[in-house]
């Protein structure tokens, strides 16, 4: 890389990975070469949503020439899961969704594996199934996990054995019953969101290798190499030190490549053919139904305010449809519970958030982690309340939104943010309050606003680590376990290292691929936590390296380290203006006078970061000292028009403003805003559809459409506010997921402004809007 960018933090330097990515040389999991010993796997999947396995016979499959092994649930007696260890790697005794793996075939080619997979005979006895989370939570619903009480579970998750409820989070603050009579306006609604899929352009790929020595390697596109190592090691009884997870570039994740899904199947299949790597690659159909999806939600929400528009009370029930296995989903329901009000200060709150087993694909993390789902209802109710008491919706939000230092619903003090500034900038950008003409007389134009908050939803103590090493020419290798899924983490972390060391950005390389054998620990690349958490670790590692350098040079010059600094790769003295290049000395040290010995040596800095202050919350009330590390907040304002003749929406402008603490790379934040706005818009039109027996109806990119280049808004306007986070690097906090959160409700509010019609249920479609307009029209 050419150029010399000093003090890169705050500058829009080019992405560190961009040359590889525009030349097609960036290596993704499917691009790795394994030679002629490579075997291929295919999964046999359940055709039923809920059924007992009466008989499984792989005799015919095993006889196909080229087939090397068939593994089934009988080969793997243990479960796997992140927070709730509820998932068999291959189904045992019963299947709980269409697409659940029941067997894995290993063969010398994908075609042979596929052919043999069709010869695995399985007899099923169908069972009654659950598809609606609210119905599934009822006492008389068919029970999907009779062993729920026996599963291992994290100590902050509360499953309800004997029901389908895998998590129940309770939030109790104040007295809602006493508050309702004080309310001048109350709005109540039921909101429904379907399951949607991440649709990364890269499908999941995993290659497992189990050597006879007991060494196990997994190459895969992963947001969570270390978490996968931990979960697979525990589930299969592999010593952590013998299991290596390598993750090259990830072709889009959005949460779908976090935690664990099909990767463990490749490891189990490799165990059956020791010494041969086994490649398991998802088809697009499998990607839709056999990896993970965003959970469905049924929300019953009631909010009230007084005559001045002061929010007084909220009561809400969230039923997340977690799918067949809820290992990750339980924490989404928990996050939705402790953030259940959205970014508002409400004195009286009663919230119940449930994760419920359903006979559908596995619900898991997706960009926003429960927040897009709950804000869909909250933000529409806020508009209705403002309308009822005659306040401008933006002003209503300014008055009620959470502010720095306030005690929020869990009892935690709000970390420093400025949401009012976000509202001001977003509304100003779309000429809020000004009625503007549509592009054609028959069209209807409307403007809408939604605000949001989101905390990284994690265990209390997820750690990050970093190592900073110098090369002879003073270029720097930064080792981290965090991943770049496209969000730009490697670039931001390189900027942080360069800034903290005092070298140009162009001197820094990130040591990839992420490899649990060589990379320092990272919990997971999720929760928009990398710039903050790994950023702190990298900054600490760079400062450690810098301290070592300054000590050597100070001793060389007979000065104090605190009188020295490094700029553009040169150590200098504030006192004497003496200078020493880093080149060479960062490896070889410096000679004593007259070459009477040497001082220093290869510089290696290490750093770590782990939040130590998060507390568990009371099971009955959700109250505690500190529920989360921090919140990121923001506002989205949308100007759109609807064509009543077709029901089609055209978004004229989306204005997105987020409080990022400190913009490490302003242009990369803008690209997150643009991508998140389109992802959020697209998500409002997406739904994974099933028939009444749980068969997926649209697991492909034609029947499940994601936004194409022709679908994007005419203009996306991004801005940010910088209220420093106390423990962020230079004050930075994450912003990768957040734009996804308020986009759909801001659209809904703008559609209401245009048409006077509310849509409580997603997905939207032109047809739905057209029909609603038709019904509304006088006969």
């Amino acid at each position: 890389m050419t150029g010399s960018t000093s003090d890169p933090v705050g500058k829009s330097v080019p992405r560190i990975d961009i040359f590889e990515k525009v030349t097609g040389t960036a290596t993704f999991a499917d691009d790795m070469q394994f030679g002629p010993g490579l075997h291929y796997g295919r999964l046999v999947r359940s055709p039923h949503a809920h059924a007992l396995i009466k008989r499984l016979d792989a005799t015919k499959a095993r006889k196909v020439p080229g087939v090397k092994a068939v593994v089934t649930g009988a080969d793997v007696p243990t479960n796997i899961g992140l927070y709730l260890i509820d998932r068999p790697i291959f189904a045992r005794e019963c299947v709980r969704y269409v697409g659940e793996p029941v067997a894995g075939v290993v063969a010398t080619s994908e075609e042979i594996a596929q052919e043999a997979a069709q010869l695995v005979e399985v007899d099923y006895e169908e069972l009654p199934a659950v598809f609606d989370p609210e119905q599934g939570a009822q006492p008389d619903a068919p029970l999907l996990h009779p062993d729920l009480g026996k599963y291992e579970v994290a100590n902050f998750i509360f499953p309800q054995p004997g029901t389908n409820i895998s998590e129940h989070f309770k939030l109790r603050k104040g007295d809602v019953e006493a508050a309702w009579p004080q309310c001048t306006a109350i709005v109540e609604g039921t909101f429904r969101l379907p399951q949607i899929q991440h649709v990364p352009i890269e499908p999941h790929v995993a290659v497992g290798l189990w050597e006879s020595s007991g060494q196990v390697t997994l190459w895969t596109c992963s947001q969570s190499p270390f978490a996968q190592r931990d979960l697979i090691a525990q589930s299969l009884g592999i010593p952590h030190g013998n299991l290596r997870v390598v993750s090259p570039y990830v072709g889009g994740g959005f949460g779908g490549k976090a935690g664990i899904s099909m990767e463990v199947c490749a490891v189990v299949m490799a165990r059956a053919v020791k010494g041969h790597p086994v490649k398991l690659r998802m088809t697009r159909e499998e990607e839709f139904i056999g990896t993970s999806v965003r959970q469905s939600l049924v929300a019953h929400t009631k909010i009230g305010c007084d005559a001045q528009g002061q929010l007084l009370a909220m009561e809400t029930k969230y039923y997340f449809g977690g799918g067949a296995y809820n290992d990750y989903g339980v924490n989404i329901a928990r996050a939705a519970g402790y953030s259940c009000t959205g970014p508002y200060l409400i004195p009286n709150v009663k919230g119940d958030s449930y994760c419920v087993y359903t006979n559908q694909p596995i619900g898991s993390a997706m960009r926003g982690f429960g927040m897009p789902e709950i804000h869909w209802g909250i933000e529409q109710i806020m508009d209705q309340l403002a309308e009822k008491i005659g306040l401008d919706p933006a002003e209503f939000r300014r008055r009620n939104c959470v502010k720095s230092g306030q005690t929020i619903l869990t009892g935690m003090q709000m970390t420093p943010i400025n949401l009012v500034a976000c509202i001001d900038k977003a509304t100003e950008a779309i000429n809020w309050g000004k009625v503007e003409e549509p592009s054609a007389p028959h069209k209807r134009r409307g403007k809408g606003l939604a605000i949001m908050w989101k905390a990284p939803a994690m265990p209390p103590n997820p750690g990050s680590a970093a190592i900073v090493r110098f090369n002879e020419d003073a270029t720097v290798n930064v080792s981290i376990g965090a991943q770049d899924l496209g969000q730009g983490a490697f670039t931001a972390l390189a900027q942080i290292a360069a800034q903290a060391l005092g070298v140009p950005y162009e001197w820094v390389r990130i040591s990839i691929p992420v490899d649990t054998k060589y990379s320092p620990y990272e919990w997971q690349t999720v929760a928009s936590r990398i710039t903050w958490s790994t950023g702190n670790a990298v900054k600490n590692a760079a400062e450690d390296a810098k301290r070592q350098i300054l000590e050597v040079v100070a001793a060389h010059w007979g000065e104090k380290p605190e009188d020295l600094d490094i700029k553009d790769g040169v150590v200098f003295s504030y006192r004497t203006e003496e200078e020493q290049s880093l080149k060479g000395m960062v490896i070889y040290g410096l000679p004593n006078e007259g070459f009477e010995g040497w001082k220093g040596g290869p510089i290696v800095g290490q750093g770590k970061f782990m939040p130590t202050y998060v507390t568990n919350l009371d099971f009955e009330t959700g109250q505690g000292t500190r529920a989360v590390v921090h919140y990121t907040v923001g506002a989205q304002a949308i100007d759109l028009e609807v064509d009543p003749e077709t029901g089609e929406i055209e978004v004229l402008k989306i204005a997105s403003v987020y409080d990022v603490g400190k913009a490490i790379n302003p242009d990369l934040i803008m690209t997150q805003i643009e991508g998140g706005a389109v992802h959020g818009m697209s998500s409002a039109f997406e739904a994974l559809r099933f028939d009444e027996t749980g068969q997926p109806l649209n697991p492909n990119m034609v029947d499940y459409r994601i936004a194409a280049a022709t679908d994007i808004p005419k203009e996306i306007h991004g801005e940010f506010v910088e209220t420093p986070l106390e423990d962020g690097p230079w004050g930075a906090r994450g912003v990768g997921e957040h734009v996804m959160v308020p986009t759909a409700p801001a659209m809904a509010n703008a559609i209401h402004d245009a048409l006077g019609i509310r849509f409580n249920e997603l997905p939207l479609s032109a047809e739905k809007i057209y029909l609603a307009l038709h019904e509304q029209a006088p006969a």
């Binding site: 525009v22 097609g24 040389t25 499917d30 889009g252 643009e674 936004a707 280049a709």
Partner: protein
């Protein structure tokens, strides 16, 4: 297996180099590029012609290489993303992708570049609508397409095409 599974020998020009390859009749062009020639820049996103990640140019026309049999490439000229920057010199279009940060995860990028390259070859000054229409078969989940469109516009305006 049916007789059509027999191998065929084809001669094909890939990124300017003539290749003679023995190809199974059911092998796709995508598989040929990735597995026979190790040109892994061309990506496999759906194997159904839906996402555009495998787009390459066949005699200058953008094609979903997962939907074309390798034997059909006999005698034709293929251009892949590896052919855009021989010896690491970025094409003006690639350079524009760099300048506009038109890449996030990078998985759709090779296909996107090939569709845009074909557009600029047949229409050096496309309108924004023409760019969007040319890229409609190339799905991207990360960028929201904004920078991609800007990069194509910039490549057209500043450099007079590809």
């Amino acid at each position: 297996m049916c007789p059509s599974m027999a191998n065929h020998t084809i001669t094909v020009t890939v990124n300017g180099a003539r290749e003679r390859l023995s190809i199974a009749s059911n092998m796709t062009l995508l598989q040929m590029l990735r597995e026979k020639l190790a040109l892994t820049g061309t990506k496999n996103g759906c194997e159904a012609g839906e996402c555009g990640a495998c787009t390459v140019l066949v005699d200058g026309e953008p094609v979903n290489s997962c939907m074309m049999l390798a034997v059909e490439a006999d005698g034709r000229e293929i251009l892949t993303v590896e052919g855009l920057a021989p010896e690491g010199r970025l094409s003006p279009l690639q350079q524009a992708f760099v300048e506009y940060n038109a890449v996030q995860c990078g998985f759709c990028t090779p296909g996107m570049l090939m569709s845009a390259h074909a557009l600029l070859q047949r229409n050096p000054n496309p309108t924004e609508t023409e760019i969007k229409e040319a890229l409609v078969g190339n799905l991207c989940r990360c960028t929201g397409y904004v920078r991609i469109i800007q990069a194509v516009q910039a490549a057209a305006a500043d450099r007079g095409g590809v």
